[in-house]
Amino acid sequence: MIYIVTALYAEAHPFITRFQMKKDSSHTRFQVFLNREANLCLIISGTGSVPSAAAVSSICTEYGTGPRDFLLNTGICAQILSERETPYSAGNPCRTGQIFLCSKIREQVTGRTFYPDLLYRHRFAEAQIITGARPYEKSIPAVTRTDEFLLYDMEAAAVYQAGSYYFGPHQMSFLKIISDNGNPEHVTSEQIEHLIHRNMDSIADYIASLQTILQEACPDELLAKTHREETLHTEHQPESFQKESLLKELEQLCDDLHCSRTMAQSLRQHIRYCILSGVDYASVLKAMYQEGKLPCRDKREGKQCFEELKKRLL
């Protein structure tokens, strides 16, 4: 599932329309829209750090997250005008409507900085963003002006921090579209919707890429690391090792060998290795059953039989 977090309905509406998302009316605290076939879930958090962190936490807890999920924070932001001309500002001080992928997120109030991974190809310009507690206004010296080209919003740092309880840094992206340069009172809902809509094709392409990456490009071995939902017994095991029939077969073998907990773990590790390295463990087991060495009568015999099995397998 790709979780899209926006602060405002005006930011969300182009997504809802584009992806034909339906409102999930079971949620009362936040507005949530879903398209299960497309694996998309959108939540409207409200403006600011606390609402956005609460929204991320709420939706991730509700739907559960794993290695095939992704968090996308998108919406409008301000552009902090630098005191000198930058490649972005040259000849056009405010880049209204331009979309950026955030490479660095600084939380203004704490000075902490966060870095989402930038592993995937994209066609956006990249920029750093500062997350502040109040709207950016030129008249308020809320942000120290620097030579750097900077964006300013009120959610990104909070979304990252809340998101990192559920996602790794490779599972979070922040796409921001410049709406103003410090005069937020002039930005209307219609304008916001228009700005998002203008960039919707490139955002949709990015989402499509993410969906492919999550579903196809990342085989299980690449994803298993951050899967926090797995149970103890199936943890970090190859897909072929999780088939129900195999698990039952292993359970039976453990019984037949009178395995202790340690022996059972060792047995599972041996079978796992055999599957991965193409050793025909089934034939070895079959032979041992045919020879009457399995099932064993007691723990003592089981231990001896296990030693022989290990030798035959390797």
Partner: protein, 351 residues
């Protein structure tokens, strides 16, 4: 099927994180010049990026980025017990680079570091100063390519050359007729041009790891083939560079005897064994903490999922298998080399 990795992932080193404190450092500028198209992101401390929680080492390795930083705190470490000292006292190692461009499934770095990105410490001068300080007290045997493959990154960093120059400068000091500083550069790289561009320096030994081609194909991704490595070794020896061949780690596979036998046949055919400095032999072993993480990161890797035996926190093959594998290699090598040139990690003594 098209390679999704190629299509969807950013190219290697598309982003370079640079600590603000070293952005004007000469080595930083030199490295950045090699990547004119990279996006440079200034950071406060390398750990802000390298040590983030929840990173996926394996995914990051598909699109590795560089982090340029200053090494602080401890600059030189005492040699670890699982590493060989080759009979040298005062055995140390240093990490001027963390992580590797090669992708060996069994590499302990996958269990040791939280990130697949590569950290290059640009303040080599501080490490050199520390070594000079040590050398006033005693000679040193220093391994400089443990937590990376220094020679594989040579075109990016030029660090091997800097270390060679440094070692040469130290050669004036002598302790009872022995070199004050011995450096081991361990590598799987096979850049023949390197040997043509440099001259041998006393005290700098090149430890080149060899594996059967089947093991290279299965586990040592992105590394040169056995054929390429042997060609490189041959050229190094021909030009008088001191070379140590490392058959370490030996990796078990069903027909390991045949695979390692074939590899040795190629080695004996290609390499003048009399001209080798020495060889090292050792089967795969790794600390339990690292293996636990490696297994989690690579659930589909046979070499990592092998049912190793745990003794005192170190996972290794069973004693019987270890003796069989190491014994086979040592016996074969003994036919071509005097015993005092063959080192086994197990007892850290000559066989």
């Amino acid at each position: 099927m098209k390679s999704l990795r190629k299509d969807y992932y950013n190219p290697f080193f598309s982003h370079i994180y640079v600590e603000e404190a070293v952005q004007d450092h000469l080595r930083t500028k030199r490295i950045l010049q090699r990547f004119p198209d990279a996006n440079v992101i200034l950071i406060g401390h390398y750990k802000d990026v390298f040590c983030r929680k929840g990173q996926n080492y394996i995914l990051q390795q598909q699109s590795q980025n560089l982090i340029l930083a200053a090494k602080q705190g401890r600059l030189i470490y005492e040699g670890a017990p699982v590493c060989q000292n080759f009979g040298n006292e005062n055995f140390y190692y240093t990490s001027c680079i963390m992580n590797c461009i090669y992708d060996c499934e069994y590499c302990y770095l996958k269990g040791m570091y939280p990130s697949g990105n590569i950290v290059i410490f640009v303040n080599l001068e501080d490490i050199f100063a520390k070594i000079r300080h040590h050398l006033k007290e005693h000679p040193m045997y220093l391994c400089i390519s443990y937590d990376t493959d220094l020679m594989a990154l040579e075109q990016i960093t030029g660090y091997t050359e800097e270390w060679i120059t440094f070692a040469k400068e130290q050669s004036g000091l002598m302790y009872s007729g022995t070199m004050p500083l011995k450096i081991e550069i361990r590598t799987k790289a096979a850049d023949i041009l390197f040997w043509q561009r440099h001259t041998p320096i006393p005290g700098v030994i090149y430890a080149i790891t060899l594996s059967p081609q089947a093991v290279i194909d299965a586990c040592e991704h992105k590394t040169p083939s056995l054929h390429q490595r042997l060609a490189s070794v041959k050229e190094a020896i021909r030009r008088g560079f001191p070379v140590r061949l490392c058959f370490d780690p030996m990796i078990y596979c069903k027909n390991w005897e045949q695979q390692y036998g074939e590899m040795l046949r190629q080695v004996f055919t290609e390499i003048d064994m009399d001209k080798l400095e020495n060889v090292s032999v050792g089967t795969f072993r790794v600390s339990q903490d690292y293996l636990k993480k490696m297994r989690k990161n690579q659930p589909q890797s046979a070499v990592i999922q092998f049912p190793y035996q745990n003794d005192n926190g170190v996972y290794h093959y069973s004693r019987e298998l270890t003796h069989q594998m190491e014994g086979f290699l040592v016996d074969s090598l003994t036919k071509k080399l005097p015993k005092d040139k063959i080192f086994l990690w197990e007892n850290e003594e000559k066989t």
